[in-house]
């Protein structure tokens, strides 16, 4: 019995660390939904775009993936800002369905652009140092999983501080709470949506980098990531940062444990089925408001 528990420790810890990566992937979606009540069906593809951007930079300039982020994050922010400002703000005014159709269109375009530019083969951003493992007696922790988790926590603390402390952050939260009241206070709500979407895309870039350092990716990984992100956001409640982290860890643990008990092919199936079950039992999520 005790041995069995020790055996389980490894997938458990791996699941929790992996949950950090999943939470980073989901964070952007949670933010845009929490602030603008906008669902971006291209979210997963934006994450993969981040992975490919870093892949392109590392193969071209030979930089470390983490160094590429210093260029990638501002670039992604401006891409997202422009998308929201020139396309999605207008779509939102038309109807909720329009946003879904437009972002679905963006997803199709991104997938095929990446397919043309980088081909259908799977790529990764693995570096030699990432393949090391920390040997803690009974536990083996791959360094990239640990990095995923640390990065997730750092990103979340930073985002939390931004939303709580800065003027812009407060304006964003005000827009999320009450659009009319925010407008009356002189806040440019549409502008806040653009900044929010920019941040969401920057988060996608970070998530994409760590995704590539952990798993191989192809131009068509996006929809899978979208489902994972959506499941986590539903688990953790839309717009809650702590909820996203908890949701991510729950998802990661379910995935690694079902992989441990049922084999590798079943792990995604179980995790996806869990999304559907949670959605149907708790349509507003575990911590939903």
């Amino acid at each position: 019995m005790k041995d069995m528990l020790w055996e389980l420790m490894n997938p458990l810890v791996m699941g929790i660390l992996l949950g950090g990566l999943y939470a980073t992937i989901a964070l952007g979606l949670s933010l845009t939904f929490g602030v603008a009540r906008e669902i971006n069906l291209a979210h997963g593809d934006l994450v993969v775009l981040g992975s490919y951007f870093v892949f392109w930079m590392t193969s071209r300039f030979g930089w470390d993936p983490l160094l590429c982020l210093s260029f990638g994050v501002p670039l992604a922010f401006f891409l997202g800002y422009a998308l929201q400002r020139y396309l999605l703000n207008y779509s939102m005014r038309l109807s909720e369905d329009t946003v879904l159709v437009v972002t679905f269109g963006i997803a199709v375009i991104l997938q095929n652009l990446m397919q043309i530019k980088w081909g259908p083969l799977s790529r990764n951003l693995t570096q030699d140092y990432l393949l090391r493992t920390l040997d803690l007696g009974a536990l083996y922790i791959p360094l990239n999983y640990l990095l995923d988790f640390v990065a997730a926590v750092l990103v979340m603390v930073a985002l939390h501080a931004f939303l709580k402390k800065t003027f812009t952050g407060k304006a964003i939260r005000a827009s999320a709470q009450d659009v009319t009241a925010a407008r009356l206070m002189g806040i440019d709500v549409q502008g806040m949506y653009s900044i929010t979407f920019g941040i969401s895309c920057a988060l996608c870039m970070i998530a994409g980098t760590f995704l590539g350092m952990t798993f191989p990716f192809t131009p068509f990984t996006g929809p899978t990531l979208l489902i994972i992100a959506f499941g986590i956001v539903v688990l953790g409640g839309m717009g809650s940062i702590a909820g996203t982290l908890i949701g991510g860890m729950a998802f990661g643990v379910v995935q690694t444990l079902s992989g441990y008990f049922l084999g590798l092919t079943a792990q995604m199936l179980v995790a996806f089925a869990m999304v559907l079950v949670v959605l149907s039992l708790m349509p507003r999520g575990l911590f939903g408001r």
């Binding site: 669902i39 069906l41 396309l87 207008y90 779509s91 038309l94 109807s95 909720e96 369905d97 329009t98 879904l100 159709v101 437009v102 679905f104 269109g105 963006i106 997803a107 199709v108 375009i109 997938q111 095929n112 652009l113 397919q115 043309i116 929809p223 899978t224 979208l226 489902i227 959506f230 499941g231 539903v234 092919t265 079943a266 995604m268 199936l269 996806f272 089925a273 999304v275 559907l276 079950v277 959605l279 149907s280 349509p283």
Partner: protein, 316 residues
């Protein structure tokens, strides 16, 4: 509500049905067959997305289930005409199964809930082999078993019949009490409920009908294709095709999917040589139409014909 008469529809489908008598062109069969499949599936998607405000992203689930039922059925000795009906029945049954979880979701939640479904089915059919042991080709595909070549005109007439049935059914439904209930739900679900409409029942029925007929269309498509594998059967391409057909033509109109599917098939064949570029163009069209002409071709036609009257539902 419906500007197209039954006579006009009848004449249109009669014309399509008489193609085998007039012209014997292999390529024309291919075009028109695909057109009819997209028109059928598009019409059934329109019943949900256009008339009921249910933006479902899982028509490919029903297409795939219909197709798998037919092809796996031929392995078990089920004759293909029964396979077609069984495909529709199983797609409907599956819709009934998932309706409990997905109808607890509203608006965008519903959309994402349905988006998960084909992805799950992809994983299921990649690993699950209901019959046979040998794997054919990449993935977990199945060729059709023991059905000799079906003449093109038979398939063609079947497709015409299915499309005609779908279109007249939706036309009939939307002009009935049931259709008005759907419309009320689309406009304001809470208000509809308080007016005494059994919201779940009405949505459930619409979902069930849409699923089973999409299943029949899928089964028919794979009867012609003679091979099925999970990645394309449950793939995004189906969703893009169906969505574009309806959005090009005009959501919430009877003629919309019929027109849109025509434009889509034409574009598809014109752009086929460009591969991924064609898909990028399709994505751009989706965005452009959603923003520029949310009511599609029918919206433009109607706004020209009836300038002074509001004939289109503002909420699409």
């Amino acid at each position: 509500m419906n500007s197209v008469g039954l006579k006009g529809l009848g004449a249109f489908f009669l014309l399509l049905g008489s193609i085998p008598l007039l012209l014997q062109n292999e390529l024309l069969y291919v075009y028109v067959f695909l057109y009819l499949i997209y028109a059928s599936a598009g019409t059934m998607w329109n019943l949900l997305a256009g008339y009921s405000g249910l933006l479902s992203l899982c028509p490919s689930a029903f297409i795939g289930i219909g197709g798998y039922t037919l092809i796996v059925g031929t392995w078990m000795g089920i004759p293909w005409p029964f396979g077609l009906a069984l495909g529709g029945a199983l797609a409907g049954l599956f819709a009934a199964l998932i309706s409990v979880p997905v109808f607890r979701l509203r608006g965008a939640y519903f959309t994402i809930g349905t988006f998960v479904v084909p992805e799950i089915l992809k994983f299921v059919f990649l690993s699950w082999r209901p019959v046979g042991t040998t794997v054919y080709g990449r993935g977990a595909g199945y060729p059709i078993q023991g059905v000799e070549h079906i003449p093109a005109w038979v398939l063609h007439l079947l497709a015409v019949a299915v499309a005609f049935f779908c279109v007249t059914l939706v036309r009939r439904l939307t002009d009935s009490r049931f259709g008005y209930a759907l419309h009320a739900i689309k406009d304001q679900e809470g208000a509809a409920e308080r007016c005494g409409i059994d919201v779940f029942k009405v949505k459930f029925l619409a979902f069930l009908l849409s699923a089973s007929l999409t299943g029949v269309a899928g089964a028919l498509f794979y009867l012609n294709q003679r091979y099925i594998e999970p990645m394309s059967a449950f793939g995004m391409q189906w969703l893009v095709a169906i969505m574009l057909s309806v959005i090009i033509g005009g959501r919430g109109t009877i003629e919309g999917p019929l027109l849109g599917a025509g434009v889509y098939v034409l574009l598809y064949f014109l752009l086929a040589q460009y591969g991924e570029l064609s898909l990028i163009l399709q994505g751009l069209m989706l965005i452009g139409l959603a923003l520029g002409a949310p009511h599609g071709i029918m919206g433009i036609i109607r706004s020209v014909l009836y300038k002074d009257r509001v004939v289109l539902d503002p909420k699409v």
